[in-house]
């Protein structure tokens, strides 16, 4: 085994040693402070929790440090390990000859946004002369009848725009088994055999053509690689909360991604979208089983991405993080509450990995990724417990009087001050938390264009301070959110599958009060208890309590778009995607503005169900996309009864589920179309007042 092949192991050993050494050092210092008068059970608990959490934050710290050093010497994570050879050769190769499917699973998403994103991505792809090598699949699991029909119309427009240049396909699943992973698996099982690779996009994903082509080239050049993930950069949101997140991701994200890529190399992870996957091994080794037992820990695997990466690795395939590729974007949640809602879903998925992390045959690094995913939510519970135990310990210490004379000892037992050690430990902990931010800021100075794109040294520095302040206030709120999620999941409550909020919807006072009333109460009670019983601890606790105590106005304020826009005008939280947006984002913004100004045949207004019945084109389009399904006699009778109700009482008398049932049946839709036109000819009385008369 030569040095090059041992390099990945050596790097991971270095990371492991750094984390272990820093944690051991910090635990020893804290242990010395706590052991002054012997260990109590409380103190042992504090020490254990502190060690666990310190190791957690230290991992992120050393990752950022590695990333910063690599940026400093002008290298990226993966190039060091895989060598310039294959990647460089791949980059110089001609256009890829392999066939790639771009797949976008959608579930009740805004079709206009999905359409604009895909148009921008495909347009960018065509500018890279990639005709004939990419096909697009829109894989719909939408259950809302209006969204389903709007998707079909959007697909038809997309198909018309790219006809002859790039095939665009649409598939709607009547039953969304196994959610997103089931949707992707259905694609693989049906059409996977046609393609070498698939690039998975989320509904809010945007990828430049250059990035897509580069991903395919890298896969072609590295046959041992099963998956390449490109870190998605959050963009396009305008609320204060989202813009601070976008700024943080833009400044600190690159060094962190480079660090991750450096440590993990071919043992990296999959984040669910904006990644290219080699289809043959994925289909052979990534079929997900149902976990035994009931939800929330059993049943379908929710956070499928980590597990799929682990399964690919188990089968001997490499998983890479392409930290050097640009042109991969996504939209962050616009508000704190939306962020928490997304966290709720992820939390259940990640905690479910407790059953998978010890699965047979997984690589140690895959177990580490799964463990880190679990820890990202459990850490909130541990932070909370640490605060609680520290408060109790402070109170206990306040109750004990120091005894200067111990029986049998002639010399007085003077109290020893550990103020210096305690202050040093606090300073080290704070440094480990905030130094990565500072390193991200310093890394801006390595590239003048990047620094200017973030507003220059002064404004970027001001933004950094403001972002740190925001995160200090919001972190304890997120801790309380995540703790309540963990508790509710452990209590057996499962999450339902809801579409993500993707536009800049602001939080109302009522919404903020409902979401944060509990946080506010916890902060006030904890503040009162500590102030009354352990006043000296109260002042230490103030930074943690301030955020939750102000959570209601804070949540409302950070959701405001006008504040975000004002800061944008002042040059605060600027990112390169705002100052000099790439062409693909410019195209998306232009298309969204155009779509908002136009009304594509009433698709935005709703009432598409009525159009699907009466409009000859919409009806025909829907019928051609339906799969013929045999219906039982009782089901046919039920559908006929729905048609009769529709005729007598109009579409408002049907529920969403009933409309969906009718839309799923081609025979019913054909009959309804004919009935609608008979009604139009004979007068509206046949089909009920005002029904189906729009088209005529």
């Amino acid at each position: 085994m030569n040095l090059t092949s041992r390099l990945p192991r050596i790097r991971r050993a270095i990371l492991f040693s750094l984390v272990t050494a820093s944690t051991t050092g910090a635990v020893l210092v804290l242990g010395t402070i706590l052991a002054a008068e012997g260990f109590s059970i409380l103190e042992l608990g504090i020490l254990a929790l502190f060690g666990l959490l310190f190791a957690w934050i230290t991992t992120a710290f050393w990752t950022s440090c590695a990333g910063f050093v690599l940026h400093l010497i002008g290298r990226h994570g993966h190039r060091l390990c895989s060598g310039d050879g294959p990647m460089k050769a791949a980059a110089q190769a001609d256009q890829p000859a392999s066939r790639t499917a771009l797949v976008m699973p959608v579930y009740n998403e805004d079709p206009e946004r999905v359409l604009a994103g895909l148009q921008a991505t495909l347009q960018s792809l065509l500018q890279c002369s990639a005709e004939g090598r990419f096909d697009l699949f829109i894989l719909s699991d939408s259950t809302d009848p209006e969204v389903w029909l709007a998707e079909e119309l959007a697909w038809s427009r997309l198909n018309r725009e790219f006809a002859g240049k790039l095939p665009v396909y649409y598939r709607h699943r009547p039953k969304n088994l196994a959610r997103k992973s089931g949707n992707i698996a259905d694609f693989c099982e049906s059409w996977g055999y046609l393609y070498d690779y698939m690039i998975v996009l989320d509904a809010d994903s945007i990828m430049s053509g250059q990035c897509l082509v580069q991903l395919v080239r890298r896969m072609d050049a590295n046959p041992q690689v099963g998956l390449i993930q490109v870190p998605p950069v959050p963009v396009l949101r305008e609320s204060l909360f989202a813009r601070s997140q976008q700024f943080a991701a833009s400044v600190f994200g690159p060094i962190f991604a480079t660090g991750l890529s450096f440590w993990f190399e071919g043992g990296s992870n999959y984040w669910g979208h904006n990644a290219i996957i080699r289809l043959a091994p994925f289909m052979a080794h990534c079929g997900l089983p149902n976990l035994p037992g009931r939800e929330p820990f059993g049943g379908e695997i929710l956070s499928h991405d980590f597990v799929e990466a682990a399964l690919l690795r188990r089968a001997g395939w490499e998983v890479w993080l392409a930290d050097d590729l640009s042109g991969s974007f996504e939209e962050p949640p616009p508000t704190l509450i939306d962020h928490a809602k997304r966290d709720r879903r992820w939390c259940q998925g990640n905690l479910q990995h407790l059953r998978i992390v010890f699965a047979e045959g997984l690589k140690p690094l895959s177990r580490l990724h799964l463990g880190m995913g679990i820890m990202s939510y459990l850490s909130s519970v541990f932070w909370f417990l640490l605060l609680l135990l520290s408060g109790l310990e402070a109170w206990r210490q306040g109750q004990i009087e120091h005894s200067y004379f111990i029986d049998g000892n002639l010399f007085p037992n003077w109290p020893v001050s550990y103020a210096f050690e305690a202050t040093t430990l606090l300073a080290i902990t704070l440094s480990i938390l905030y130094l990565p931010k500072l390193l991200g800021y310093l890394a801006l100075f390595l590239d003048r264009r990047r620094l200017l794109a973030h507003g220059g040294a002064l404004k970027a520095g001001l933004s950094l301070l403001l972002e740190s302040l925001t995160s200090i206030l919001l972190a304890p709120i997120l801790m309380l959110f995540q703790m309540s999620f963990v508790v509710s999941i452990l209590a057996g409550r499962s999450v339902r599958w809801a579409a993500q909020q993707r536009d800049d919807g602001e939080t109302s006072w009522a919404e903020a009060t409902a979401a944060h009333f509990g946080h506010c109460a916890v902060a006030l009670v904890a503040g009162w208890l500590s102030f009354t019983y352990v006043p000296e601890f109260f002042f230490w606790l103030t930074p943690v309590l301030l955020g939750p105590a102000l959570s209601i106005p804070l949540s409302r304020f950070t959701s405001r778009v006008d504040v975000g826009q004002r800061l944008l005008r002042w040059g605060i939280f600027l990112t390169p995607c705002e100052t000099d947006p790439p062409r693909v984002l410019q195209d998306l913004t232009r298309r969204l503005a155009k779509s908002a100004a136009e009304d594509h045949g009433g698709t935005a207004k709703g009432a598409l169900f009525e159009r699907a019945i009466a409009d000859p084109f919409v009806n025909a389009l829907h019928l051609t996309l339906l799969k013929g399904e045999r219906r039982s006699r009782s089901e046919r009778l039920r559908l006929d009864a729905l048609i009769a109700r529709l005729q007598e009482q109009g579409p408002a008398s049907l529920s969403k589920e009933e409309k969906r049932d009718l839309l799923s049946d081609s025979k019913s839709m054909t009959s309804l179309h004919a009935l609608a036109w008979r009604a139009i000819e004979e007068g509206p009385a046949v089909l009920g007042p005002g029904t189906f008369t729009q088209t005529a």
Partner: protein
Amino acid sequence: MPAKQTDSSSGGDEMARARLLTGLDRYLQAAGVNGESARHRLARAVLHSLRDQLPQSGKPDWQALIAAVDTVLSGEHQIDVQPDLLCRGRIAQGYGTVPQPLKAQLDRTANWGSPLPSRRPMPAQALSTWRPRLAWLGSPSIWRPAQGVMISLCCLAVVFVP
């Protein structure tokens, strides 16, 4: 008065035919046929294709009319349709000036929204929990990193504990 009866029935037929033509005209307009003369021509073609049904019922039902419209529009746009997907005639019309490749796609692919699927199931992977085995304890590949960790910890202890 047989002659008079024939007159009234032929007058009634004419009225029914006129109503039918009006209805067809509205339908074709809704389907995207904008030119009046084109609609007129297509409506006559539809009636011609339904000539076998007309004398019996006086007026065919709308389902038959719509199917005939689809057939005529398919012919107009020169697309080959399957019996169960007649509605493609309306789609071809709805697309207006359709580039040639899309027409080809309409012709050949049975399932228009996606290519022909071929079910190749993804086998569900085993994720049963790992359990330690006795043989594992004797594995030198496990012990070497562990030894490294132990040595690192001992060094740290020497540095920090005093």
